[in-house]
Symmetry: C2
Subunit: 254 residues, 2 copies
C-alpha cells in the first residue's frame, strides 16, 4: 500500500483530492468530536467552513432535527447549540440529529475532500478502526492533516504516523518524506499521546481557554472505534452507507 501525507490543507485543493481515497485528521478537536457525535447517535454531521453557510443549511432543516455546532478561536460560535468539545456531544443531545458543523481547520479539510472517492474521518480515538477499513480497501491513500490555520500541527502529523505504523504491521507500505516524518513523530511520542497534546501549540491554547479536559478525550486511543465516512454533503457512520459496508467486521462499530 502507498500513503501520501499532506501536513496542511493549504497544500491541496478540491480538485486534487477528486477520486482519491483520503483519511482526514483533526485530533484537536473536530474529527474527535465527529467520531463521538456519530458514536452517540447523531444521524449525520454536515461540515462547512463558513458560519453564514452553516446558518443557511440549518434554516432548511426542521428545528427539532438539527443542531448547530462548531468553534472560532476554540470557543462556541454565538447562537450555535454546541461548541467543539467531544464531551458536549452526548447521546441525550445528539441522538437522531443532523449536526451542521463549522470549525476553523477540520470542517474545511473535510469540505475540501467532497469529491474524494472515499473519505474517512480519523483521530487517535478511532485509529485502529480506520486502519482496518483502510487496509481492507488497500491501494493508495492520502492522509490530509487539518493543521492549524494553514500551517503544520504536530498532533495531526503524529496521528497520521500512527495510522501508517499500524498498516505497516499488516502489509508493505510505500511512503514519501512527509509519511516518513509522520512515522518518526509518532514513534517519538507514542509513550504519551496526552503528553504530546499538552506540548502542542493548539493543545496549549485549548488549556489556556479552559478546555484541558478535552485533551484527555482526544488522546484516548481507540476509545471511539467508529469509521465516519464523508460522502457528498455529510459525514455518517460507515454502516449507514450500505454500499461501503463489509460483511464481516461489524464488531468494530459501537
Amino acid at each position: 500500500m502507498k500513503f501520501e501525507v499532506y501536513f496542511s490543507p493549504s497544500e491541496v485543493d478540491e480538485l486534487s483530492m477528486r477520486g482519491r481515497n483520503v483519511v482526514i485528521i483533526d485530533v484537536l478537536r473536530a474529527t474527535t468530536t465527529i467520531c463521538t457525535a456519530l458514536r452517540n447517535g447523531a444521524r449525520e454531521i454536515i461540515p462547512t467552513p463558513d458560519v453564514v453557510n452553516a446558518t443557511k443549511i440549518s434554516s432548511n432543516l426542521s428545528s427539532d432535527a438539527r443542531l448547530l455546532g462548531g468553534e472560532r478561536q476554540g470557543k462556541k460560535i454565538d447562537g450555535f447549540d454546541l461548541g467543539n468539545s467531544p464531551a458536549e456531544y452526548t447521546p441525550e443531545k445528539v441522538t437522531g440529529k443532523s449536526i451542521i458543523f463549522s470549525t476553523t481547520n477540520g470542517a474545511g479539510a473535510i469540505y475540501k475532500c467532497r469529491y474524494a472517492s472515499t473519505a474517512f474521518v480519523a483521530g487517535f480515538v478511532n485509529v485502529s478502526a480506520i486502519v482496518q477499513a483502510v487496509a481492507e480497501i488497500g491501494g493508495t491513500w492520502t492522509i490530509l492533516c487539518s493543521g492549524r490555520q494553514g500551517a503544520f500541527s504536530v498532533e495531526d502529523a503524529a496521528c497520521a504516523g500512527m495510522i501508517i505504523s499500524q498498516v505497516e504491521a499488516l502489509t508493505d507500505v510505500d511512503i514519501e518524506d512527509a509519511g516518513l516524518t509522520a512515522v518518526i513523530l509518532y514513534k517519538n511520542f507514542k509513550k504519551s499521546i496526552l503528553g504530546m497534546l499538552k506540548k502542542s501549540m493548539h493543545g496549549k491554547y485549548l488549556i489556556s481557554i479552559g478546555f484541558e479536559n478535552d485533551l484527555a478525550l482526544c488522546a484516548k486511543v481507540d476509545s471511539v472505534p467508529v469509521v465516519p465516512v464523508a460522502s457528498g454533503q455529510s459525514v455518517k457512520l460507515r454502516y449507514s452507507v450500505p454500499e461501503a459496508a463489509p460483511k464481516t467486521d461489524q464488531t468494530t462499530q459501537v
Copy 2:
C-alpha cells in the same frame, strides 16, 4: 530566542516575510551550491524562479562577468552555463562572476524573502557558521524550508532542526510544532545525514538521474563555512555587506 519554521514556501508570501530575520534552506541542492559558489569566489548569486527572467537579467550584464546557472527536473537548463551541482561551481569557473541562478525550489524561496530584514542561506555545509550568525543577532527567526514543489522535504526540515538544536545548546529557544518536529527529525537522522539524503524523495530522484556524488557534498556538515546573505536582488557573502559585518569573528569565513 524564538524560531518559526515553515516546511514549504507555499505557506508564506513575500509580504509575510517582510521585515523578518530569515534562514532559507534547500539542502538538495540550491543553497549548498550557492554556499560553494560564493566560497569559490563568485561575486554574487542573483536568484530568480523564472528562466525567461534569468535570461533577461543575463543580457543586461557583460558576457565575461556573468554565468547562467540552474536546473529544471534536476538537470541543467538548455543554454545555461552551469547546472545545480555544487561540484560544477569551481574557482576556475566562478571567480569574480555574477551568477544568475534559477532552480525549482530554492531560488524561488530566496526570491520570496527579498523584503526580509536579514536573509541567510543555509545547508548542512554551513550550519555552524549560520548558527553563530543567527545567535549573534538573536531575537526571532523564521526558517523557511524550500521543500519540493510546494510540499514537504525531509532533508530541509532536518537541517532546520540541526540549526535549532545548535542554537539550543547556546541559549533558551522557543519553538512551535514545526520547529519541535524539525528537531526530532534531526535527532533521528544525525548519525547519518548522508543516509537520510539517500532515503529522501529528492535524493532518490537525484541518484536516479546520475547525481549521487552531489548527495555526499550536500551532506558534509560545515565543509563550506560561509554566511551568504540575500539582500535586494542578490546573494553575497556576509562580509561583502559591511553594515552586517561583526568585528570579531572573521575566522569563520573561508
